[in-house]
Amino acid sequence: MLEIFAYKLVLYASSFISLFMAIFWISVLFLEEGNLEEPKWDRKYAPLVSILIPAHNEEDVIAATIDSALQVDYPKTKREIIVLANACTDRTEEIVKSYKEKGVKLISIKEPGKGHAINIGLEKLKGEFTVILDADSIATQNLLEVLLPKFNDIKVGGVKTSIKVWKPENFLEKLQWFEYLSVGLVHKLMSVLDVLHLTPGVFSIYRTDALKKVGGFDENILTEDIEIAVRLLHNGYKIKSSLAAMPFTKVPKTLKGYHGQRLRWARGFFTTMLKHKDMFFKKEFGLLGLFIMPISFIMPILIILSTLIVFYTIAGFILYTSLNGLLTGKIFQGATILLVDFSALFWTSVLVMCGIYVLYKSVRIFREKASYPLAGLMFFIAYPFVKSFYWFLGAMYELLGVKKVWRGDARW
């Protein structure tokens, strides 16, 4: 009896919250779709912008990243490019030095850690605005002209871009192509409501003053890009997202690389949430504190419990049919429609329709073609479970105090 009650409680709670979230974002999309246009850049206004490129053993990609930064459409006298060579043991520094004539500066940093490297860069840079560009990412030409106008609002402390996956080849990369598309749209909608709480390291731009005012990047956290965004919000700044500039990033090609990256993100997210737990349920942080942050904590737990229930049911079914098959020779006897929970089926159908709609809108807004149908289907089925699994694993690692591995060693 208790088992059934727990099952129903989890099923009903996770279905209700999932429906609520899906309907919430679709409502925002419905209301705001016509207002997603980006403000135009007034070319007369060209503040000094510093582009920081933290790099750890990036000899394969650093040249392409610097080239893309040099091609960003912005007055050359109004931008500086600084590569933060962080504990590099390969040819990264040598490659960066070859760009000296083009004005690219190199800062060698012995102690590893991205947050640490960026903080050193922050001390040295001169720009009114600071761009963080990951060494494995490709900037697009229009980045600054579409992002700078966002800072017309004095309260805006950071702006993130939507990111596209660079030339996905294998199945895992295609799955991530879908993820980046749909997440990009949701982030844009979060930005509309001022509840966006991350500025990905791939490419984000900050008001330098704001960064310095909040004390720079956290050097002891695995995801300094999430933490800095939450800290900016904590200090009254806003984070915005732009759909007009879409830089590319290279995503993990292997499961090992994917696992390392996701675990790092999850651990960083969990630590950040704990660090800023005093924002939870506080009216002064609006929707972010009252709704988005608490729900981002509760939702994965419910998804994990729902996943366990689904696995329990499937495992029970397999065990039952196998045993039955062994003893009677009839494997699928008894597996009829009578066993279906029609309420759950109805809610799942609604959620699937919402998901398809969001994905369709994402593909359209990102001006992409609907490619990779198999990867799309797989993303659709597995993504919530995979995300929740890593959330759970990350939380466990943090709670158990498992040693942190710096991102340079944990990436692909």
Partner: protein, 215 residues
């Protein structure tokens, strides 16, 4: 920005829509569940009617004498419809959708009484008309994998041998005192237990093995 205007109402509006969709899901679920239990109730009523008719026919034969042969096909019909109802009931019971639901418990009890009534009628019929049936009493436990598998093996037996009468009884069903009577009478201790022509076999028994016990 439009969202600013709607921000205050967004959560409330979303909540209202969500409640509506959620309630629609509950409604869809309960409509299908009601349909399933209604179907079950209908077949239980049919079983009752057939058992009652069987009883009257038996009394008629006892009073006025007559043809026992005509009753044999009726036994088959009653046995078949009771087995069909039992299968539906077991499936719903194992899905655990109705665990603790009063309506479902009522149907289960009603069906159990029908089966026991049929069992006693059959015994009486054997004496009156001098016929012998292979009667298998199957004592099972709910959500017990061995019992479920035994049920399928008995289904297979029934397909092959339509004359065999199989009556399944939840050995732990405490709401119906008749069950305790049978459990005590046959000294049933574990599930599954088969009483094949008054002979007790404990544990899972394959179709081939059961066939060796029947006439």
């Amino acid at each position: 920005m439009v969202a600013e205007k709607y921000k205050k109402y967004l959560l409330v509006t979303t909540l209202i829509i969500t409640i509506f969709v959620f309630a629609a899901g509950i409604l869809v679920g309960s409509t299908f569940d009601t349909y399933q239990t209604d179907e079950l109730l209908l077949s239980i009523r049919q079983n009752e009617l057939e058992a009652q008719s069987f009883l009257v026919e038996q009394q008629f034969v006892e009073t006025f004498g007559g043809q026992c042969d005509s009753m044999i096909s009726r036994v088959e019909n009653v046995q078949k419809s009771i087995a069909d109802t039992g299968r539906k009931l077991t499936l719903l019971e194992n899905s655990r959708k109705y665990e603790g639901a009063e309506d479902f418990e009522y149907l289960k009890n009603k069906h159990l009484i029908s089966k026991i009534q049929f069992f006693t009628l059959l015994k009486n019929f054997e004496e009156t008309c001098g016929v012998n049936y292979d009667i298998i009493l199957f004592f099972y436990q709910v959500n017990h994998s061995e019992s479920i598998t035994q049920g399928f093996s008995l289904d297979e037996l029934a397909d092959k041998n339509p004359d065999v009468v199989i009556l399944s009884i939840d050995k732990d069903y405490e709401k119906e005192p008749l069950v305790s009577l049978l459990v005590v009478r046959y000294n049933v201790e574990k599930a599954p237990t088969l009483i094949i022509n008054d002979e007790k076999i404990e544990g899972f028994t394959s179709t081939a093995n059961i066939e060796s016990y029947i006439n």
